[in-house]
Amino acid sequence: MSTVTNTKKAPAGERIADWADGRLGIYTLAKANMRKIFPDHWSFMLGEVCLYSFLIIILTGVYLTLFFHPSMNEVEYVGPYVPLQGQLMSEAFNSTMHISFEVRGGLLIRQIHHWAALIFLAGMFVHMMRVFFTGAFRKPREINWLFGFLLFFLGMFTGFTGYSLPDDLLSGTGVRFMQGAILSVPIVGTYLSMFLFGGEFPGGDFVARFYSAHVLLLPGIMLGLVVAHLILVFVHKHTHFEGPGRTNKNVVGMPLLPVYMAKAGGFFFLVFGVIAVIAAVASINPIWALGPYRPDQVSTGAQPDWYMGFAEGLIRVMPGWEINLWGHTLVLGVFIPLVIFPLVLGAIAVYPFIESWITGDKREHHIAQRPRNAPTRTAFGVAWITAYMIMLVGGGNDLWATHFHLSINAITWFVRIFFFAGPVIAFIITKRICLGLQRRDKDKVLHGRESGIIKRLPHGEFVEVHQPLSQGERYKLTAHEQYEPAELPPAVDENGVERKIGRLQKLRVKLNQGYYGADNQVAKPTAEEFREIESGHGHH
């Protein structure tokens, strides 16, 4: 090596980067994105939990496909698990037994895969609620909200097709449940079922078909959506909470490289670690205890994984109504739940569009709101969660009955009533709480924080000393925007002609007043109010 070339040659890393840039154009890409700023808040990491558990699911899933046989051919079990030896089962079940008992690390990987799936869905649920309650779905993020919702929705069905694959007695019951729901669809139900199962239930096809859906179709779509979701996060930049120096036009936080790369990379391993520990400690879907599926067998306590518990609840609590007409049966007891299921989920999906229609707010928002400052939305969200949770109770009504020594019939009636009444009660209570918190914020800004110190004045009066907030804290509590409620235009126009006001417009104004009307938000303290109190004698 001569010294001359040595001085001219760039470092190896730079040369590789240069080589790659010449072919991939990574320089401009990296320049634009390496310094991307991400704000710090624990709730902004919920999406990361989802992303990482999704990656873990894909990685472990690939391992499982190496050993799983998606076939319903009947075989006799000859493996090491004694209580099933000699039993007839499908190859799908047999190979899952093989994975669980004979493949090195197979059971651990299976359990990581399944636990990660439950956590993935739970993470998406919480992430979605975070975005909902902070108003982070507002323009420009409505499309990304829909992508996220689609991920949750597809995740449910990827999970469903996944836990159906081992063809065990529990999942087989679940597949039968789904087939029953399909059959209840008027006119086309039978055809759909025959098409999906390749004949009468269960047939010999569904494992192979669910397999392609589970490992290819659904995760393929989801992966695409995840990428699109992340690209949009980059394009929109992340929202951040109110605070000094934080505006609708900037993002205050740490750059992607190096801080967030290190943080996010580390967080991936923490998520993997937590899921691996859980999978190593706690059993999930022990198919050896459940046994192979046979259409003539069923067990009590047959529930789906939690994210399908809502659907299970709907079917469990629905009265078994049916109509018989001209030799045809319309099974309302199953069909109505089948209709309610997408309606309830859809309600939360379309909410951003409804809210922007009601408020008429078409501006861009990059500030995450505090839930209390949007009482009507927060109340709606809590009402929705209440309905969802009550249906989860309905889905597990038998376990509530045995573990709390209650009558299953009483629980079913509770769920029937409170699926409707619960959200209303939750809406009212949540709204009151939000308004109360708004008043408290106002109090804090104007009078400071209660210090708990009681002072006695010379003339005998007792007063509590209030500690004034710092300027930054006051800013945080007053920075949120407050909207004027919409008004209907005067009934007659300037020429005295009666104005035509559409019913839709009347509804919009009415709803808008429900959001911003006098009783629906507490006017935040103004600078004048604050000065007035400050200039007074300090306390009151």
Partner: protein, 269 residues
Amino acid sequence: MKKLSARRRHPLAAVVVLLLALAATGGLYAAFAPAGTAKADETAQSLAIEEGKKLYSVGCASCHGTGGQGTSDGPSLVGVGSAAVDFQVGTGRMPAQQPGAQVPRKKVIYTQAEIDQLAAYVASLGAGPAIPKPGQYNPEGADIAKGGELFRSNCAQCHNFTGEGGALTYGKYAPSLEGVSPKHLYEAMQTGPQNMPSFPDTTMPEKQKKDIIAYVQAVNSDKADNPGGLKLGGLGPVSEGLFAWIFGLGALIAVAVWVAAHTAKAKKS
């Protein structure tokens, strides 16, 4: 001695003597009575019925009637057989504590000897299934896998995949089978206690009962192993979902809070 004789007129002397006498007879009874019932001759049998009747009139007659004919508070015991008595009393279900949707399993209050006497008495009221012999219910050498198949076909609907129990209508339930002895499992199948249907030998031969007992012992007893780790009650997706939310997502949120709290600090210059 003087001290003792000085107090023989004490007001409590009679009580002390009575207590001593009771302790002596009770002790003697406890020492000799089991030996008496072990004898399998005709006189021992009639003695057992005799003793059983006494126990019956004290503990059972208020609900089942003085002659076992049943009342509005309890069913007739004519023809239920000794197996039913051995199960109901041997698992503590009888005597019942209170009326309700179902009589729960609780602490056994009679000794096995007393239970045998009660059973002998009830059996004498009318023919019914007899207490099984160990050879009938001992799961040794039974086909566990076959038992599993039978269990899933006949028992799992109410008792869950591995016998963890489940709910029935209006507060009734199928109890957990954990820790139930082979004899009681056999008797339950034979007699169909409370809400359970009975599986007499004509519909479920002795061998099949043995297989089922062997299966329950294999999957739901101290000897059962759980290769996957904690079995979370063996209740399936509901407990798994709760676990995933509380310990899975809970731990991850805690980690997220921790990571967010330890942010990179600007260098002090």
